[in-house]
């Protein structure tokens, strides 16, 4: 639309209808840029900006590697996503995991497998005790449903291990 001023096509006509070509050109420009925006949104969605994709799936560990959290960074309100917590402790013993921060405010836990041996509330979050296997590993699989909106900062800790901090964002 660079030559729009000169070309007769861009001049206003008064008959049989009154035109406002300046406005019409703006509308066309809006449609064109709008289309670029839509394509960009589709690409970002494919990359996982709106949950489930390379941009969203995270795998973090504490500095000593004992606590590991696999989660989705981006969630959508009302949708469910998996989260996996792994901890290394003493073989064939109970290990404590503490979920704290805003996680339980933004999410509701739809399922928790395997069921922890004990669970108590602790401040804003909760403490869970799980059984480790012969190698000292224990995994906890959660299904989280995003109930809140916005950014939620959470922390997973286990005694004797470096805690893992992470952020999750819930879209409307």
């Amino acid at each position: 639309m660079n030559d729009e001023s000169g070309h007769t096509d861009y001049r206003n006509r008064d008959y049989p209808v009154r035109e406002d070509m300046a406005h019409q050109v703006k509308v066309w420009r809006f449609e064109r840029w709008g289309w670029y925006t839509l394509v960009l949104l589709v690409v970002l969605a494919l990359l996982g900006l709106f949950s489930r994709g390379p941009l969203s799936t995270r795998d973090v560990q504490g500095s000593d590697g004992k606590v590991r959290v696999q989660y989705e960074m981006f969630h959508r309100n009302g949708s469910t996503n998996p989260m996996q917590l792994s901890v290394i402790g003493t073989p064939d013993a109970m290990v404590e995991l503490e979920l704290s921060g805003a996680m339980l405010e933004g999410f509701s836990i739809e399922s928790l497998q395997p069921e922890p041996i004990r669970a108590v509330s602790a401040g804003q979050g909760m403490k869970l005790w799980v059984q480790t296997d012969a190698q000292g590993r224990a995994n906890l699989y959660l299904t989280l449903r995003g109930d809140g909106l916005g950014l939620f900062h959470s922390r997973i800790a286990s005694p004797g291990a470096t805690a893992v901090d992470f952020d999750q964002f819930i879209f409307p």
Partner: protein, 146 residues
């Protein structure tokens, strides 16, 4: 509160999206457009109602949508600017038997679209017989014969 906000946000989002799509997109419904419209409706419905299927919620959503719609039409009546912003204006695409190519290109139309409208509304056979073809605000093409 959230039902009203949901409905208002959805109204605004759909309005912007259909503005981007342009006025032609749903004016002439092909079979595929019809299916597309149904899918859009289905996707919208989920977001509007969430997981609350109560009568109160659905009434709140409907009341909000109609209130915004009526409010906008009142606003359009009072302000020429708002009216033009929301509905746009008509654009001439054929003048004295000549296609205005640049306008057609921006409106994503081809000669066949104009001739189709000319045949169906006026029984016109060639471009020379068209005095004016106008792309109306609702996306339809009206044809005035020589």
């Amino acid at each position: 509160m959230d039902s009203v906000l949901r409905a208002a946000a959805m109204y605004l989002a759909l309005m912007v999206l259909f503005k981007i799509a342009g006025r032609r997109s749903l004016a002439e419904l092909t079979t595929f457009d019809f299916v597309l419209l149904m899918i859009i409706g289905e996707a919208t419905q989920q977001a509007l109602l969430g997981d609350d299927f109560s009568m109160t919620n659905s009434m709140l959503v409907i009341v909000t949508l109609i209130a915004i719609d009526v409010g906008l039409s009142l606003l359009k009546q009072r302000s020429q600017w708002v009216s033009q912003l929301i509905d746009g204006g008509p654009t001439i695409i054929v003048e004295n038997g000549k296609l205005l190519h640049k306008r057609l290109r921006h409106a994503r139309l081809i000669e066949a679209d104009v001739m189709e409208a000319a045949r169906s509304s006026q029984g016109i056979e060639t471009l020379d017989q068209i005095k004016f073809a106008i792309l109306e605000r609702n996306g339809k093409i009206s044809v005035i014969a020589v």
